[in-house]
Subunit: 131 residues, 2 copies
């Protein structure tokens, strides 16, 4: 069955959206993420949407819902890699993604999570601000 | 245009394969990865194939080719999340993915890269060669 892989990165979970999200796939992702947050005791969820060039209210609602569910489960959500056109569309759709943090890329998103949660991951590579 | 996102994680690049790879997409990924390895000065490439349930010789060759290109550019490749059935198929196809390291998941793959990078640089991060 088609499902979006969820990668564990230390205390965080990482998801990259790169396919068209239809109803069932979004539902599966939402369920899988909730389950993994609890199972892995994750404190943060990173959702990379850098390959999304267009977005609709369905995706916007999905992101907001994932963030809400994660928050209840004590995990923060950071949406990373949003393209300017996507941000414009979301605002035009009246979706300001309140409660969802955003960052330029995965590295910066992880820094936000580490800072906000006071979590130190094992590898010190992530602490290097390269470039 | 459809392309697979490449995420920078410290000194490594991460790619998750979750769509059917057709010729042009594989070619684009290969080109994008080579470019990013050079541009970011990356020392390792992690390719997550946990969502691949079937594999053919085309994918096998793509993985081997990416690893070869990365190696020439001084980056190691680790394929992570391979399902047992995929491993069986690859061997049956006569593709043993020589020169490609594998790991159970992204975390373990990253450990392999960090260890191997530490060995290469003599454990001294300042020895990181700048291009």
């Amino acid at each position: 069955m088609e499902r979006i892989p969820i990668l564990k990165m230390g205390p965080f979970l990482l998801v990259t959206i790169q396919v068209d999200m239809h109803d069932r796939l979004a539902q599966t992702l939402q369920d899988d993420l909730a389950e993994r947050v609890v199972k892995d005791g994750s404190r943060g969820v990173l959702i990379d949407i850098s390959s999304l060039e267009v977005v609709d209210s369905f995706i916007g609602r999905m992101l907001a819902r994932i963030a809400s569910i994660s928050r209840i489960l004590d995990a923060e959500t950071v949406v990373v890699g949003m393209q300017p056109a996507v941000a414009i569309t979301l605002v035009e759709l009246g979706m300001s993604l309140e409660g969802v943090k955003t960052a330029l890329n995965v590295e910066k998103g992880m820094e936000i999570l580490q800072r906000s949660l006071g979590v130190e991951t094992g590898g010190d590579e992530n602490a290097h601000p390269e470039n």
